[in-house]
């Protein structure tokens, strides 16, 4: 098995009394695609936020390529080669698409010693790759949702990361768009980027992930290949339970 690129040791994040992430251990190997699934509020996004130290960690350690990076400044973690996208897209609205990606190219893992001009070239290359080549001069806030998701991806890729955390890049995309996105993700992985994917869209998970981890109320419920996990009794219970809940809620509304 290849080198461990990211490892978390009983990572926890508490908001007041509530444990959003509860003693989660995880290892991620270079070149792997790990899916993290779980019902809403299971702590998936929080988990990523803690790894990238967008939120201060409560307890536990995070290791990147064997080096402990627990609560390093976020920008340093990013420069190490850990990129992420946001579930709620965060484009730089009053910049053009090109400029958005350029920022990533300037400050990411590959940004050091790169001149503005070089960064711009890099950005254009990445934008072509994610399929925004024809919209580089648009204002970011004029893109469609699908476009914004791609832009989110482009910003991350422009950083030339070794590890890329994708937070629900497929959510809200229609079937065709999802297909396209999945191809894109596979392609990214084929180019040697390790992926940590948070998804609701099971299709996508099964389609691209080699390994899946299930979070429930912040705790790790199960781990294994997609098939194993999806047939895991606890997982089914968790999801069905949630489905019932949702149905009842709809009944009320």
């Amino acid at each position: 098995m290849s080198e461990v690129i990211l490892a978390t040791v009983s990572v926890s994040k508490h908001f007041g009394g509530l444990a959003a992430v509860d003693r989660v251990d995880m290892t991620l190997h270079r070149g792997e695609v790990l899916g993290v699934i779980g019902p809403n509020g299971a702590g998936k996004t929080t988990f990523v936020n803690v790894i990238t130290n967008l939120l201060p960690i409560t307890s536990g350690q995070v290791y990147y390529k064997g080096k402990e990076i627990t609560s390093w400044p976020a920008h340093l973690i990013a420069r190490l080669g850990v990129a992420r996208t946001f579930q709620v897209v965060k484009p730089f609205k009053r910049m053009t698409v090109r400029e958005n990606a350029t920022v990533g190219a300037m400050y990411g893992a590959g940004g050091r010693g790169r001149s503005a001009a070089q960064a711009i070239r890099k950005a254009e290359e990445v934008l072509e790759f994610v399929g925004l080549g024809d919209q580089m001069d648009k204002q970011a806030d004029q893109l469609t949702l699908a476009g914004l998701k791609r832009l989110e991806l482009a910003k991350a890729l422009a950083m030339e990361p070794e590890l890329l955390c994708l937070d629900e890049v497929m959510a809200g995309l229609n079937l065709r768009e999802t297909e396209a996105a999945m191809d894109l993700v596979r392609e990214i992985n084929r180019r040697g980027v390790t992926l940590l994917i948070i998804e609701h869209v099971m299709k996508a998970i099964v389609g691209v992930c080699q390994r899946v981890m299930v979070l429930h109320y912040g705790q790790k419920l199960a781990e294994g290949t997609p098939q194993e996990v999806l047939n895991h009794p606890l997982v089914i219970e968790a999801y069905l339970g949630q489905k019932f809940a949702r149905r009842q809620a709809m009944g009320k509304a």
Partner: protein, 365 residues
């Protein structure tokens, strides 16, 4: 902010953001007309002093230029970085005091003293900025306002009076051009301070132009648009913000130095007058924050308007009592109908009165 990219073609996108089109217009290096306009203005400004204007007109122009610099300096932190700094007068005052103290106590030459005065302000900005820039929005605004007030009291406190002469202020050496006297000397003086002010404008505009093409510039706008996303892309936001704050402080400090030597005296209540902060911000907003030339133009317009209100009797009516009131009304009007500043005019394909109402509609409840 698209002026980040020189080669950006000037294409019409469906629903252009005003700020951007303005930026693009100003930012496109190959835009001959734009360069031409700059050149024309530059030449005009260069020859103006020699068109035998009265000392008064020269002084008025000088104040306009200085205001332009203050506005553009604020633009670094307020316009590009999106942090509403309300304490820039602290840097203005420190620049003035630094210059005054160096010129009187150590008898340094003016330009050196002014430069160091600016650096004093810069250092102060770094020290203050590290804690204060951790706050956002209104809290930051208030904190900076507080810092400015506190700085004034500190400078005029008996504890520091050995250095700053406390509240009684400092007299600077009087500008006396060698070998000249009377009217000639006076004119030489006016011209000297005019050109220094103009030099500062050119300097600050070039600095902005450089900034918008530099990595720092990119990170500042990224921070303005979304600080978390910026962090996640590997931007050291703390450092970037402090840098912007320091840059802002440096130029504000330089203006302070110019002021001190020009006025030949400084008093705490004068050089730390919150008026200076607000004029700067208003000019920047008037012209269009986050643009290369907007604040400079805004400074010119603001000064012209207030000078006009002070001196003129439109339709023979003496505004007398009311000119400050009218200035207030003018500010309110601009804020209500043109919150994006004059830059807004350049964001539209065709200008119509409708745009004002549109602005209101965007922001009202």
């Amino acid at each position: 902010m698209s002026n980040l990219k020189p080669e950006t073609p000037n294409l019409q996108s469906k629903k252009p953001m005003p700020v951007t089109r303005w930026d693009r217009l100003l930012g496109t290096r190959r835009n001959a007309v734009y360069l031409g306009a700059c050149a024309v203005v530059l030449v005009v400004l260069l020859i103006l002093p020699h068109m035998s204007l009265s000392g008064f007109v020269l002084t008025s122009l000088t104040t306009a230029l200085l205001l332009a610099v203050r506005a553009q300096a604020w633009n670094f932190i307020g316009g590009y970085t999106g942090y509403a700094a309300f304490g820039n007068v602290a840097f203005y005052g420190l620049g003035a005091y630094g210059t005054a103290i160096l010129m009187t106590k150590l008898h340094w030459p003016f330009f050196l003293a002014m430069l160091v005065g600016g650096l004093v302000a810069t250092v102060y900005a770094v020290i203050v900025g590290l804690p204060v820039l951790r706050m956002r929005g209104q809290y930051f605004a208030i904190a900076t306002l507080g810092v400015a007030e506190a700085t004034r009291e500190l400078v005029s406190s008996p504890q520091l009076s050995r250095l700053t002469a406390g509240p009684t202020g400092i007299n600077l050496p009087f500008f006396r051009p060698a070998g000249l006297s009377g009217a000639a000397a006076a004119e030489a003086g006016s011209i000297f301070f005019y050109y220094v002010a103009m030099g500062l404008v050119v300097l600050v505009v070039l600095a902005t132009w450089w900034l918008t093409r530099s990595k720092l510039g990119y990170s500042l706008v990224a921070i303005r648009e979304d600080e978390d996303a910026a962090k996640m892309l590997g931007i050291n936001t703390t450092w970037a913000k402090v840098a912007a704050f320091a840059l802002s402080a440096f130029f504000t400090g330089l203006v302070g130095g110019h002021y001190a030597y020009w006025r030949t005296f400084i008093l705490p209540e004068e050089v730390f007058n919150v008026r200076y902060t607000l004029e700067g911000i208003l000019s920047a907003v008037l012209g269009g924050p986050g643009t290369i030339l907007g604040p400079v133009v805004g400074g010119g317009i603001y000064d012209a308007v207030s000078t006009f209100l002070t001196f003129s009797k439109p339709f023979g009516i003496d505004l007398g009592q009311f000119h400050v009131t009218i200035l207030g009304v003018f500010i309110v009007m601009v804020i209500v109908f043109l919150p994006r500043g004059v830059a807004d005019f350049f964001g539209r394909r065709k200008l119509s009165w409708g745009m004002f109402l549109e602005n209101v509609r965007q922001n009202r409840v």
